[in-house]
Amino acid sequence: MSTEFVPEELRRAVEHDLRPVRPLPPAWQRTLVVAAVMAVGFAVSLAAFKLTLRPDMDQLPMWLSWGCSVLQLLVGVMLVSMALRESIPGSGVPAGAVKVAVVTAVLMQIVVGIATWMYSPGMPWGEGAIAKSVGCVTQDSTMALPTLFVTLWLVFRALPVRAPVAGLLGGAGAAVTADAITHLLCPMSDLRHVLVWHTGAMLGFMLIGWVAGVLWERRQIRRF
């Protein structure tokens, strides 16, 4: 096949950088990379903050403590996988599925928080609660940010045609997986703490992902 039909300028641009490339691995393989970084991030946070299991762990039924954490981890990994899928043109996730996944992630965190509070009020909300809450958000961030950065890096080095959506999914995935671990560690079940600080942190990570997508897209638009 000849290249005579290719316009000269385009032909030169392509020929200038025609090195062989290896196709990106499928989304599930890239998800494994993120999962590995996620595990390292969790381990570092646990060691750095000297975190231990919540003191009222034995008052919580198994399904609510470990069961919900495992479920949240799975949902988080699925969200990361959706973000990575979204980064490949022509294999995007249907808009309806994106909405369902993100709403499920947020609702799940809220429902687990309320259920946990109903079984055990945990550490009372009182003096020092704000400082404790700030500490919780710091831990959440330390656990979620490595996952978020790696996910966004993998997303933006491909070609997300709906970058804000991919960023939102990545942010939600990072937030849910971090919350799955925090659920096992945080001693406070008070809803003022859970729904304001933990849910707030989750929404914050989703917002970071979304904004990163918007900025990436703006950079693309500037090319025109």
Partner: protein, 186 residues
Amino acid sequence: MVVDRQAEEERLIAFMIGYQKGNMDDFGGLYAALKQPLLRYLWTFVRNATVAEDLLQETFLQIHRARQTYTPPRPVRPWIYAITRHVALMHLRSGRRRKEVLPSEELPEVPVPPEMEKLADSATLHRMLSDLPRPAQEVLMLHHLLGLSFEEVGHILGVAAGTAKVRSHRALKALRAQLAEQGGVS
């Protein structure tokens, strides 16, 4: 027809594999095979042949920059049309739209499949299509004129295959109504 489409898809996959390995001739093959349908698709966004030509170059540059995101042996066309759509939407959002009006004879030619030919002749059909809102136009263009499956259309538009089917059904209904209004086909 089905065999033709399958053979065509296999040919495109072979071009992409060669192109990813650094073969310029395969890039040329890909360009020659997709130039006309991509121009036609771009036209639904910009309605201007000159801009569509410019965007075609930009689309192939984007394809070149993102060539590692194609994984063989997945179908090539949904991947390429998704990139094309991305380029067109970025162009529209950039606000740099040209004002020239395109005479209809300059529209890039795309063969009309038999089921669409039943409705009207090719020229009328293309003109009618231009009058529809863009989402309707896009789904009709991708499925009925360019021959992509609803699943592929869904992947390109970021919606479920069922949603693409419903959009296409509504668009076809609107097209038929327009034709009936003009005394064409009931």
